[in-house]
């Protein structure tokens, strides 16, 4: 898939992170972050070496502080205000050779003595050698997807994991087995799995492999295949307070908060529109039936009045379709992005924690160093690497997410506009055929009276 495709356990090595479109270095201080890999030997394997780090450390500044100039360059990169960049991204996406295809479909209800639940067929087609077979077909239920997501979050904490549709639904309010609910949920699960499969790092996660291939997900034991990063991040204790969050992450955080608000507003508007449309539909039906009733007491006017009644009825059908389309397409995506934002915020928080830990340990080490003249402990180096890795992964995922978000919303809103256009076109053609019918009727009647 990508040059130097990382295998399951190995992190991104060598050159810049494959997800970032821009081939810049990922941090303002070049010597430290040329590579982001876990030192798997005690000797310092990063390009800079201990000496460089010492230089930095004696300043007392944590490595990751960005100078203002580079902060803005980061901001620029993050906000993708260059159409060129976007095109590059898109181009990149289209030249990606996909070798893993997943689909979720075919919902089926299972009734057992203990419970009733739905399973979905998960089909996989792949040419990757990490998979034993080129094709897999098995059935999974929501619980399994939930397990997968949990595992991904645990094992890849520096990455943004796509959201799942809501887990809990209030019994009695929503029918968990209604066709509509199952359909909506299935689409969301399909999206989730596709997003994971498209992710250059997540798609190689062994848990995903297990999910797609194993007959039995041994969920209780759990596969102890945490990446080293994952493990160490998990071990990062709380208690460290972040002193200065680099501005680019503040910007991200603010964006997420505001965007979340806007999503909430749009959800409310969409629901309100649906409500108004439903009530409009009720009145419109009644209105149509009055024409039909009137037709009964007339003779020359029967056909015209019935014609109008029929037309109104057609418009009712068109409105129903519009409302259905809106509720099935628009609302789920809005809600999905709200969940996405939550995920992203969690990742940001974990990044903050990681940085905080690093800074804390660094400070402690500096003090000790000054007192005891001991070299920088490996622990601190590890922390630094972790932070760098985290930041790189996060930024790359952020850009990816922004790009996907733009595509998703463009498609969603365009589709919404299309549905509305479709609705008006249907109504228009119904009325147009009625007009010609009425005008013929009129001509006929004028002739009749004239003929006398």
């Amino acid at each position: 898939m990508i040059v130097g495709a990382p295998r399951g356990l190995q992190p991104v090595t060598g050159t810049t992170h494959p997800l970032s479109a821009v081939q810049e270095t990922l941090s303002p201080v070049p010597d430290v972050t040329a590579s982001c890999h876990i030192p798997n030997s005690s000797s310092s394997s990063s390009g800079g070496g201990g000496g460089d780090k010492e230089v930095v450390l004696t300043n007392g500044k944590p490595v990751e502080t960005s100078s203002p100039a580079s902060a803005s360059s980061l901001l620029n990169r993050l906000q993708l205000d260059d159409d060129l960049e976007a095109d590059t991204l898109d181009l990149y996406a289209s030249t990606e050779t996909r070798d893993l295809f997943v689909t979720v479909d075919d919902p089926k209800k299972h009734v057992s003595t203990m419970e009733t639940y739905i399973t979905y067929r998960v089909s996989t087609k792949t040419s990757r050698i990490e998979f034993d077979l080129p094709e897999y077909n098995l059935r999974r239920r929501y619980q399994d997807f939930d397990w997968l997501r949990m595992k991904l979050e645990d094992s890849q904490p520096t990455h943004l994991i796509p959201p799942l549709p809501e887990k809990f639904v209030m019994k009695g309010v929503v029918d968990r087995f209604s066709e509509e609910f199952v359909e909506t949920r299935m689409k969301a699960l399909d999206k989730f799995l596709k997003r994971v499969a498209d992710h250059p790092v997540l798609s190689f996660n062994p848990h995903l492999n297990a999910f797609l291939t194993a007959k039995d997900l041994n969920k209780r034991q759990g596969l102890a295949l945490l990446t080293k990063v994952g493990e160490s991040v998990k071990q990062a204790a709380g208690g460290y307070k972040l002193r200065a969050r680099p501005p680019e992450y503040c910007v991200m955080g603010e964006y997420l908060d505001t965007f979340n608000q806007k999503l909430g507003t749009m959800d409310r508007i969409a629901q309100r529109i649906l409500k108004e449309q439903t009530e409009y539909l009720v009145e419109l039906r009644e209105y149509g039936s009055v024409y039909a009733g009137w037709a009964g007491s007339e003779d020359a006017l029967t056909r015209p009045l019935e014609g109008v009644a029929g037309c109104v009825s057609t418009c009712c059908g068109a409105m129903e379709d519009l409302s259905e389309g809106m509720s099935q397409e628009l609302l789920p995506v809005l809600r999905e992005y709200v969940l996405y934002i939550e995920s992203m915020k969690n990742v940001l928080k974990k990044r903050d924690q990681s940085q905080a830990e690093y800074e804390g340990r660094l400070e402690a080490a500096v003090i000790r160093k000054q007192e005891e003249k001991t070299p920088v402990p490996v622990e601190v180096e590890k922390c630094q690497d972790r932070v760098e890795c985290f930041n790189a992964d996060l930024k790359a995922d952020w850009e990816r997410w922004q790009s996907n978000k733009r595509q998703d919303f463009r498609q969603l809103l365009t589709s919404m506009a299309d549905k509305n256009i479709n609705y008006f076109e249907k109504c228009q053609s119904a009325w147009e055929s009625l007009v010609s019918q009425l005008q013929d009727d009129q001509a006929e009647n004028t002739n009749e009276t004239n003929c006398d």
Partner: protein, 433 residues
Amino acid sequence: MAEERGDPSERTGGSDPMEDPLEDHQHTTVMVVSSLSSRLEVSVAETEKRNGKNAMNMQETFTVYLVETRPVEPLADGRQPAPDSLWRRYSEFEILRSYLLVTYPAVVVSPLPEKRAEFVWHKLSADNMDPDFVERRRVGLENFLQRVTSHPVLSHDSILYQFLTEEQGWKEAVYDTGFQDKADSRLRALSATFRVRNPDRRFVEMKHYSDELQSHTSQLLRARARVADRLYGVYKVHGNYGRVFSEWSVLEKQMGDGLQSAGHHMDAYAASIDDILEEAEHYGDQLKEYLFYAEALRAVCRKHELSQYELELACQDLLSKKQQREELATGSVRTFSLKGMTSKLFGQEAPEQREARLHLLEEQISEGEQAVEERRSECQVHVGGAWVDVQRFRQQKDRDIREALIGYALMQISMCKKGVQMWSNTKECFLKM
């Protein structure tokens, strides 16, 4: 005539509708009679607000309408003659119509536009001073005048002509006709409805139809108002998208422009409903005209019931008088009468008294026969004229409603086109996101 039988001829003139000389075609044709409108063009051109004192000597503001008349024929030199005009208030139109109703009970008299705004949906003003309402009323008054001046019977009325041409003297003239006294008492009319025995079946059916027409048009107007309310809500809520897209566009870099312009289109979409619904009021007015027409139709039918009932009463009265004469002449008592009873109890009356009574009865019978003839003639005239006008009305109604429906459909098409346009514009913006 079957007057000798115990079943007085209470049928209208004894003639079969199919033999009515005015109706000799399968489809009734309206007699082409030259009407006022063929000579005079009538319009209600303008409106103005005036201040004055009302009947209770209180200051009030009211609207006056400019009634313009212009001869159809151009002047000798080919120019269009200048119009004459005068100002009239709505209340004067009401008086004119009341006069016409009383004076021509066999005519389905065109209604006036509504006195107060009814079947109002949400934002539509219920205020009589609202300029939109005044404008629609102007159109309605013009329609009224054009209908009456083109009516084969009504258009020849001199009071109507004075209404159009004499600003000052008209009111006096119309009151001088004493039309207010000629109006049928409500009680008599109601009584007739219940007690008439043999009304013309066609008018019974027509009355039933007028009830249906009224019911359907009012249902339709109510339903239409509710639909308008809801549609208004749907459009207006979309305006919220305008705001949120605008706010969201500030957050975005690439998506910003597309979102911002999409937002503007949503605002425009939300605003478009106001004009759409205002234009749609014309259709409502057309329906209202026929709602009120139903009442006018019913009035004609009820007039028939009344005149038929009066004929029946007159026949009944005549019959009873004749029976009394018979008893007096033959001495047999068939009907109960106080005189008869007292005679029985207190002895027969003197022959002179009997003669006197017979003589009186003969007079009464003769008067009664005249009365029956008059009533019958009234009834027949009414039936004849009314049936012709009812047919005219039906044809007019079919034409008008059909046209109204076509107009309504065209309006819907226009609204759909606007919708397509606006959402296409919005879609363009989304594609640029």
